[in-house]
């Protein structure tokens, strides 16, 4: 067994990821149509509640800790105007949330590094969607395009939820 990484390094990475999440959420809130202080308040409340819940909650209820920040992002997103910058901030905030989930101090240190391949896939998907949206005419068309894509993904996810065996690999045939 290799020696576990120093707790200080793990703690530092947690703080960095939390800082990125806080920054992205605050930027997203500042771009929304909410009154200035209210936007920051919603972001701070959501983030603070999630951090507090995650620090105290047992591992089994970790899913509950993410609800406040998701609620805050939903409120901010619902009031955000449609622009390339706002869309990017929203997407980055969601990816920062996933990165924050990967840096769990109760699990093996270095979760962010190990989660990098799957986060990269998410980042690429967001990048493709965002650049595609840039070339679409403004207004309802891009929303319809994005929504259609997401509906397809939803159907795919719903299908995979019931058919996890499709992801499993068959064992190699033996002689």
């Amino acid at each position: 067994m290799s020696a576990p990484p120093a707790p200080g390094a793990s703690r530092r990475w947690s703080l960095v990821v939390l800082g990125v999440l806080a920054g992205a959420t605050v930027l997203f809130a500042s771009a929304s149509d909410l009154p200035e202080h209210l936007g920051y308040l919603v972001a701070a409340l959501g983030l603070g509640a999630s951090v507090a819940l995650r620090a105290d909650a047992p591992r089994t209820s970790a899913a509950g800790a993410v609800v406040p920040i998701l609620a805050a992002l939903t409120v901010i997103a619902a009031t955000a105007p449609s622009s390339a910058g706002t869309d990017l901030f929203g997407g980055v905030a969601a990816i920062a949330l996933l990165a924050w989930l990967a840096e769990d101090r109760r699990r093996a240190p270095g979760g962010l590094v190990r989660a990098a391949p799957s986060l990269l896939v998410v980042f690429v998907a967001l990048g493709i969607a965002w650049t595609s949206a840039l070339f679409l005419p403004t207004g309802s068309a891009r929303i319809g395009f994005g929504a259609a894509l997401l509906v397809l993904v939803t159907i795919l996810v719903a299908y995979l939820l019931g058919r996890t065996d499709l992801i499993d690999a068959e064992p190699p045939a033996t002689a």
Partner: protein, 431 residues
């Protein structure tokens, strides 16, 4: 799930995954309803992340092997274990969920050390009372770093028996027991001692009594030599557990029965090591017997029966037990009755056993230590209550002592008095 994988090892979505997907659906609806793009862009990573996590993890159940052992003495239970994978598996994201037997408490949080190919763990538990708990293997699950998908690991390991009983019982095997067979056979004990068939001569030690010195051999060699003897096979013993519920309540009865079972396991093992024939019976509503026999297989059978013994909610009459026992155990067999002796029914059982010809020794786990602090009393009143309780119990045990010797087992981690009693046949009284 692949063909060779065990059931339950297919990929599972965690609750976090469902929360993210539910939020994503909500954001999508908000985006479409309000005709806003920002919610859709927030929803996109939440939709894609679970699928990406599922595809980036292992595509089959990881093979792993659990090796673990329990150590410690008396109340201390330290379990060390390691989960090893194969050469290519990465176990860094493997999570272990431990289930602690109800008899044990947690002394310190578990420490887990992770590596790429193995996960080591140390559990610090405590057994407040003697116990024969069985620790189920931990649930070993691979979970992606974000915590969105999980999959059970192949190969869980075997349950770990944890036996904690007073260490004095290890010396109990030297107690001489009566035989109830006319022809006990030629099976000899592996013990070498001070009586029996001549075995050999050895150098004398300062603790050897003078009567064991072989004076002729000493004169020939010019130094003190003593005789050694191969002990005869010891006799037969019946362990009888009174598992009827008492007025103490279910919780206290369970704790006392736990200690009684641990003592029974220790006593049975001590006598079985000496090739004594050991029988076991529990009495709740009816008698549940394991007849007298010896050998390794029988030892396991007795252990299994003791482990399976539970408190009986229906209490059978004491006479029924005494009347049933002769069908399985010949009268005259040394009987160790383990009973809390709470109430007259237990005391009656001793009387009936004596009448049926069973020389009985009673080991009585005392409920007194369990009742300390249970009452809402001031310190002085509590001390007085304990003193009164002790007096009442002593009086009750004295009534039983008329029929059979009784050992009041108050300090659960010591059975020195019981072992001394058993090793002195004169004090045990015969029928």
């Amino acid at each position: 799930m692949s063909a060779g994988d065990p059931p339950g090892s297919s990929l599972r979505w965690t609750p976090l995954s469902y929360v993210l997907l539910g939020s994503a659906v909500l954001l999508l609806l908000v985006g479409v309803t309000l005709r806003a793009a920002a919610p859709i862009f927030v929803a996109l990573p939440l939709f894609v992340a679970p699928i990406a996590a599922a595809l980036s993890g292992p595509r089959r159940a990881l093979p792993a092997q659990l090796v673990w052992e329990a150590r410690g003495a008396e109340s201390e239970v330290t379990i060390r274990g390691i989960v090893r994978g194969d050469a290519v598996s990465d176990l860094t994201d493997v999570e272990l969920t431990f289930s602690r037997p109800p008899d044990l408490t947690e002394a310190a949080p578990p420490s887990v050390e992770r590596g790429r190919g193995a996960v080591g763990f140390v559990l610090h538990w405590r057994a407040p009372y003697p116990t024969i708990a069985v620790a189920e293997p931990p649930e070993i699950v691979w979970r992606d770093p974000v915590g969105l998908v999980e999959r059970s690991v192949k190969g869980r390991g075997v349950p770990l028996p944890i036996e904690r009983f007073p260490p004095e019982l290890l010396r109990l095997g030297a107690a001489r027991l009566d035989r109830v067979l006319a022809l006990p056979g030629e099976t000899r004990s592996r013990r070498v001692g001070s009586a029996g068939e001549f075995y050999g001569i050895r150098e004398a030690s300062p603790t050897d009594p003078p009567r064991r010195i072989n004076w002729r051999a000493t004169a020939r060699r010019g130094r003190l030599l003593v005789n050694e003897f191969e002990l005869d096979r010891t006799g037969d013993v019946l362990l009888l557990l009174d598992v009827r519920s008492t007025r103490l309540g279910r919780g206290t009865d369970e704790i006392l029965l736990g200690a009684a079972r641990a003592a029974a396991i220790g006593i049975a093992a001590a006598f079985a090591r000496e090739k004594a024939r050991v029988g076991y019976a529990s009495f709740g509503e009816f008698v549940d017997p394991v007849p007298l026999a010896s050998g390794r297989g029988h030892r396991l059978r007795v252990q299994e029966a003791i482990r399976a013994t539970r408190c009986s909610s229906v209490a059978g009459p004491s006479e029924r037990c005494a009347a049933t026992l002769p069908r399985f155990f010949p009268p005259g067999v040394t009987t160790i009755l383990i009973s809390s002796l709470t109430g007259d029914a237990s005391a009656d059982l001793v009387v009936y056993l004596r009448r049926r010809g069973y020389p009985t020794v009673v080991l009585s786990p005392s409920p007194a230590p369990l009742l300390v602090g249970d009452r809402p009393l001031a310190a002085a009143d509590e001390r007085l209550a304990q003193r009164l309780e002790r007096l009442v119990r002593r009086q009750h045990l004295a009534r039983v002592w008329v029929h059979a010797p009784v050992v009041d087992w108050e300090d659960f981690w010591s059975l020195g008095g019981f072992v001394r009693l058993m090793r002195e046949p004169g004090r045990r009284r015969s029928v």
